[in-house]
């Protein structure tokens, strides 16, 4: 395993470190459970999962204030859990139940909760980037100290919306953090097949804002980079283009067997798994006992088990709601 030095943990509160770990475990366990619910046929539709990318969601959201916002694409379960949505409201949504975070009408690709600062997922590739720029413009015009972190994948970088939104955001110095989770693949296409310069953060220079590439499998590195970016944004020095290098441990969707990831590439990334690395660093530092980490896992599993049982029995939206929440 490519470890993280335990020295890096110095200066952080133990509770904070454990909360980061617990949130990442929660995302991993949630995604694994959802995978089996799908395989069992208990859950309808397809799903886009984020096993292996937990540190990006958790590191970014931990660095934001409660009243800051995030936007997310179709791979949003991790972002939602990191922003504070509950396992129950997510599972209810995935099961199409009325109690879901989008009243059971959004499903896996559109999870979000406006009360918790997460715009329901926008499944169109790059679709949320102009939206985030618009939100940041509102914050600026209303003289609020809020920022928006906009998650998207490397595939979105090839969309015109990416260019247009970051250009305007830079021009107007908007408080937006554009978070590119670069997992090397746009669906099944390797990044090297669609861009000559594969360092996404380099593009910031062209727009006249700051760009930074960060180890996206190192939750503390992501946290620090996001804090820095948020401070820039609040100081009217935004936007910031953050590129987080990470890797998906699963197919693009449940129907994708992921045969295009070469074995050696997989092995090299799996040895830098964000959870394994952070757990090892926590153990090494001596600040956290192994039993505490085990307790986190057990607690998380119990929480998910309970929520799954409830979600399976949760009623769907009533027919009377058929024409509400509809826009056209």
């Amino acid at each position: 395993m490519v470890g993280m030095s335990s020295d890096r943990l110095a200066g952080y509160e133990k509770d904070f470190l454990l909360s980061l770990y617990e949130r990442m475990v929660l995302i991993r366990e949630f995604e694994e459970r959802v995978k089996f619910l799908f395989l069992e046929g208990a859950m309808p539709g397809t799903i886009h999962q984020c096993q292996g990318q937990e540190a990006t969601a958790v590191g970014v959201c931990a660095a934001l204030n409660a009243d800051d916002w995030i936007t997310s694409p179709f791979r949003g379960h991790g972002h939602a859990l990191a922003k504070g949505l509950t396992v129950q409201e997510l599972l209810d949504e995935l099961f199409g139940a009325r109690a879901g975070c989008c009243k059971g009408k959004g499903g896996s690709m559109h999870v979000g909760n406006l009360d918790k600062g997460m715009v329901p997922g926008i499944a169109i590739v790059a679709g949320a980037i102009p939206l985030a720029a618009g939100m940041a413009l509102a914050f600026k015009m209303q003289k609020r100290a809020q920022v928006v972190a906009c998650f998207f994948g490397d595939g979105a970088v090839a969309e015109g919306a990416f260019h247009e939104a970051i250009n305007m955001a830079a021009l107007w110095k908007l408080p937006a953090i554009f978070v590119c989770e670069n997992n090397l693949y746009g669906a099944s296409t390797h990044i090297s097949k669609v861009m000559k310069n594969t360092r996404v953060s380099d593009r910031a220079t062209a727009y006249g804002c700051r760009g930074e590439t960060v180890d996206g499998n190192d939750v503390l590195a992501v946290y620090e980079a996001t804090r820095h970016a948020a401070a820039d944004c609040r100081g009217a020095n935004g936007p910031v283009l953050l590129e987080l290098l990470t890797y998906r441990r699963t197919g693009h969707s449940r129907r994708d067997p992921c045969g295009y990831q070469p074995k050696d590439e997989q092995e090299s990334w799996f040895s830098r798994d964000p959870l394994d690395r952070f757990a090892a660093a926590l153990r090494q530092s001596g600040a956290v006992a192994s039993t505490e980490l085990d307790q986190v896992k057990a607690r998380t599993e119990a929480q998910i088990n309970e929520s799954v049982e409830k979600a399976k029995r949760a009623p769907p939206p009533p027919v009377a709601d058929l024409l509400t929440d509809i826009f056209s």
Partner: protein, 334 residues
Amino acid sequence: MKMPDLAATDSAIKLIRWLVVPGQAVKRGQPVLVIETDKATMEVESIATGLLKEVRALPEDFVGVGQVIAVLELADSASGPIPSPATTPSALTREPPPSQSGGLFARNRAAAAQRALARQPVVLSPIQRTVGKRMQSSKQTIPHFYLQTSASAEPMIVRRQAAAPKPLAWDAFFVRAVSKALKKFERMCCRFEGDELVVSESDTVGVAADIPDGLYVIAIAAASSKTPEQISDEIRAAVQRLEAGDLEARAARPPDITITNLGASKVESFAAIINPPEAAILAIGKIAPAAVVQEGQVVVQNRVSLTLSVDHRIVNGRYAADFLSAIVSEVEAF
């Protein structure tokens, strides 16, 4: 255990093979069967830890989403200890193991016989459906022209005998010859990307492999720098992996050009359909003795027919003819 909703389109899901046999212990998350849709071949994981009691669908069966495909006895409800997984699962292949013949397998065979009697239409496999669509599109949209010639096979025969006792795959010679000729004819590596013609830099030659499951292309990279022995080993290993159902081997890797060889049959010569987006395909016939005139004398010589199908949008006749001549020179230079 039910068939998960793994088809991205409305494609039927075909069961390719089981990776475990009834009586074997399985773990939650362990791949237990391989399925095929029109988009991909993939492994399906067990949804629980326990004992595989029985399978309710067989290789070649088309299975609907939600249909029960296996019965598992869960680990926590099993009465006895769970046997450890067999080291080499004697995978349930097309033929059922004898111990199973009295049960489901016999019923399934009877059903198959009944289907035959009822003259039901033959269901195309997803891979054959895809091959068919691609070939139809190629033949209908690419203006093919065909160049036919022959080459002396004598140097190859001598070289092959020298490699005895391990006979080389004939295709190894043709792959190397085509790869070397391609070096001098860059335009034969061109392909359309939209309206633009771009040069492929993959430096690979494909070999059409017609295995019982379907038609695949084995891609041999940098063949001009390899010996026929190396290429031969590579082809044979690839065929084995294809036949074993290796998913990675079955994934498409578009080469610059494909060769197709029916020489093992009694085919003297034939013209093949271009495998898009390639510019040409070389069809190789059977090696057979022929009477040829050399320096005014009729002599008997082993010869092989070579037919090049070419995309006229990419190259014209003269260029393709020079390319085919270069292949002949390489074939005769072993």
